[in-house]
């Protein structure tokens, strides 16, 4: 059984007159440990697809099955539990909690995922932050860090709970090419070191170099698939 299975997934926004067909039937299977890139122009449905995979939204029709359970049949709280245990998110605009330091942002995510006390929490948080190269900036708040550093905190936050799946929606869109490279390289390394499954989207051809499995999305359909080694 694959980690993730999508079967004829459709997503239609809006009701009545104005309907937007964001996804028009996507079939997809992703195995544990894969490093997948979803490539496509703006408006092609990348965010919509990642939201469905991330159990943030439900499909209009079709089936999204994560780790053996189908998200279409779950209620809000069950979805929240699914996310907290299995999925790490990285967003285009970082979305760190501004009143928490880098360390606290990461620890917060860990605490949510692992209820109860964990003696190793401090170790884990410091370890992951130093892996993304922020070992000496633990106690800075997001507004005291650069964009690239913010996104690296976000990567650490997504990884600290050792999720099965990390979803990154255009993680480099707000970064300059230098910072983009750093973040992508960290993601590649983490994929190798921790065997975490990554799915990230982009519309930047430069970023595609890092892809090992490439899916091209166009008008809500997967129009091309490619594997590289």
């Amino acid at each position: 059984m694959s980690l993730l299975e999508l079967e004829d997934v459709k997503k239609i926004y809006g009701q009545g007159e104005i309907k937007v067909f964001a996804l028009r039937g996507v079939d997809l299977e992703i195995e544990e440990g894969e490093f997948t890139t979803i490539f496509g122009p703006s408006g092609s449905g990348k965010t919509t697809l990642l939201n469905l995979i991330g159990a943030l939204d439900k499909p209009t029709s079709g089936r999204v099955q994560l780790n053996g359970s189908s998200i279409g049949e779950m209620n809000k709280n069950q979805l929240a539990l699914l996310r907290r245990q299995n999925i790490g998110f990285i967003f285009q605009s970082f979305n760190l909690i501004p009143v928490l330091t880098a360390y606290e942002n990461v620890e917060f995510a860990l605490k949510i995922a692992e209820k109860g006390e964990n003696r190793k929490a401090k170790e884990k948080v410091e370890n992951i932050l130093s892996r993304v190269g922020l070992g000496d900036m633990l106690h800075r708040r997001p507004n005291q860090l650069s964009g690239g550093q913010n996104q690296r905190v976000a990567v650490a936050r997504a990884l600290v709970k050792e999720p099965k799946l990390v979803l990154a929606d255009e993680p480099t869109a707000n970064l300059d090419s230098e910072a983009s490279k750093e973040v992508l390289e960290i993601m590649v390394r983490m994929n190798k070191e921790l065997n975490t499954t990554f799915i990230f989207s982009t519309h930047d051809p430069m970023v595609m170099e890092y892809a090992r499995r490439l899916l091209e999305l166009k008008d809500g359909m997967i129009c091309r698939e490619e594997r590289r080694e």
């Binding site: 943030l56 809000k76 709280n77 996310r83 979305n95 009143v99 928490l100 620890e107 917060f108």
Partner: protein
């Protein structure tokens, strides 16, 4: 733990907003503590004066007599009684009794020169009067009723009204037991100035022996038995107990509160007014909190979305907002309690010159010119809890509204 940390830090994120809302609540708290302290101070001194000078902790008399007295009618001589030994024993054995005296109150017209003025004459037993009342201590001229001789003691305002000094001549005109008009004449022995306007003007003291003679009453007849207790709480409970005991015998046992219905009503009115204004303040504060949370929710859509993506449930996000509101409530009422403590402390020590505001004497409220506040620690605790609770209640609905924001919409980069 983290939710609390986030909520706490969010308070400092919009310092201005937090401060303004807190200050509204601070105002509410200070106002309440001030009013409560003044009200309690007023009631305390008022009841203290009533107990010392007019109606002590407990009074016992005929129902009909009290009825007429409360209406302000002519006091009925036929409702006087001779207390029997059982009754006196029962009172004496009541727990907490400090002293007991018998009085005979009747209505009369006070006449001096060409003027006359209706008064209540209180005929007292000079031996035991001091066990219960303190009127004696307020003597400003002459001497108090000491023996059974003739002569009266009047209040300062009555003296001023008739321009009398001790030693001056007076006439009291009244109807005796059979309805025949009679007079009592003699010298004003003394003048008292008590912090009780009615007593100062409308009450005249005379020795009981003189009065019973003039009224053609049997010698031991009294209108009320007056009892002094150790404290007011005891007065209320023991009055009730004695009341049950005397129930079958046509007597009424009243506590100082029963006797001062008007004041009790005034007290209730004062509290009502205080609560009403407090409610207004809190309404403003509550609306402020509602709008603050709505604003915060709009500002933090992305953050809410992020928290949901991290796997927080809606009710956990609700908690963040409610904690923030509680924080505003706590800051506001804490500052309020500190400021309130300063104000109330000052009031209990230096008092407030009431002449500057209004002459409460004219309202017939028995108190001095200066009003001292009362310190009541439980008021601080109560108002603190109450304001925090109001803040929390005000935040519940907008917090749920905030937490229901769709994560998809929230996260979308625009």
């Amino acid at each position: 733990m983290y939710l609390l940390k986030i909520a706490f830090r969010n308070l400092f994120r919009r310092r201005g907003r937090t401060l303004i809302l807190s200050l509204i609540l601070t105002l509410a708290v200070v106002f309440f503590l001030f009013m409560e302290s003044m009200m309690m101070g007023l009631m305390d001194i008022t009841f203290a004066n009533i107990i010392d000078l007019e109606t002590p902790h407990i009074e016992i008399g005929r129902e009909e007599f009290f009825l007429e007295a409360d209406e302000g009618n002519i006091l009925p001589l036929e409702e006087t009684f001779v207390p029997d030994d059982d009754m006196l024993m029962a009172i004496n054995e009541t727990q907490g009794v400090l002293g007991m005296t018998k009085v005979l109150d009747f209505s009369a017209d006070f006449i001096a020169g060409r003027h006359e003025f209706p008064v209540r004459v209180r005929a007292i037993d000079p031996l035991t009067f001091g066990e219960v009342f303190r009127n004696q201590e307020y003597l400003v001229e002459g001497e108090f009723i000491t023996g059974n001789g003739s002569g009266i003691v009047i209040g300062e305002r009555l003296a001023e009204f008739f321009d009398l000094q001790s030693g001056d001549f007076f006439t009291l005109r009244f109807q005796d037991r059979r309805g025949a008009f009679n007079t009592m004449q003699g010298d004003v022995k003394g003048i008292v100035s008590v912090p009780h306007p009615d007593m100062n003007l409308g009450t005249v003291f005379v020795a009981k022996e003189q009065a019973t003679k003039a009224l053609n009453l049997q010698e031991d007849k009294v209108s009320q038995i007056m009892v002094r207790m150790e404290n007011r709480d005891q007065a209320l409970t023991q009055a009730q107990k004695l009341g049950v005991e005397f129930a079958g015998r046509d007597y009424q046992v009243r506590s100082y509160r029963d006797a001062a219905e008007l004041l009790v009503a005034l007290e209730a009115w004062g509290y009502l007014e205080t609560y009403f204004i407090l409610a207004l303040f809190l309404l403003v504060g509550g609306i402020g909190i509602v709008s603050a949370i709505v604003l915060a929710a709009i500002e933090r859509v992305k953050e809410i979305g992020m928290m949901k993506a991290l796997g927080l449930k809606e009710n956990e996000i609700v908690r963040v907002f409610i904690l923030e509101a509680a924080g505003i409530g706590a800051i506001g009422s804490l500052i309020g309690c500190v400021l309130g403590a300063v104000v109330v402390y000052w009031l209990t020590f230096y008092g407030l010159d009431m002449e500057a505001f209004l002459d409460l004497g004219d309202l017939g409220v028995p108190m001095g010119d200066k009003l001292y506040g009362a310190w009541n620690t439980s008021s601080f605790v109560l108002i603190f809890i109450f304001v925090v609770a109001i803040a929390i209640i005000a935040s519940i609905i907008p917090s749920y509204w905030a937490a229901r924001k769709d994560p998809v919409e929230a996260i979308q980069h625009r």
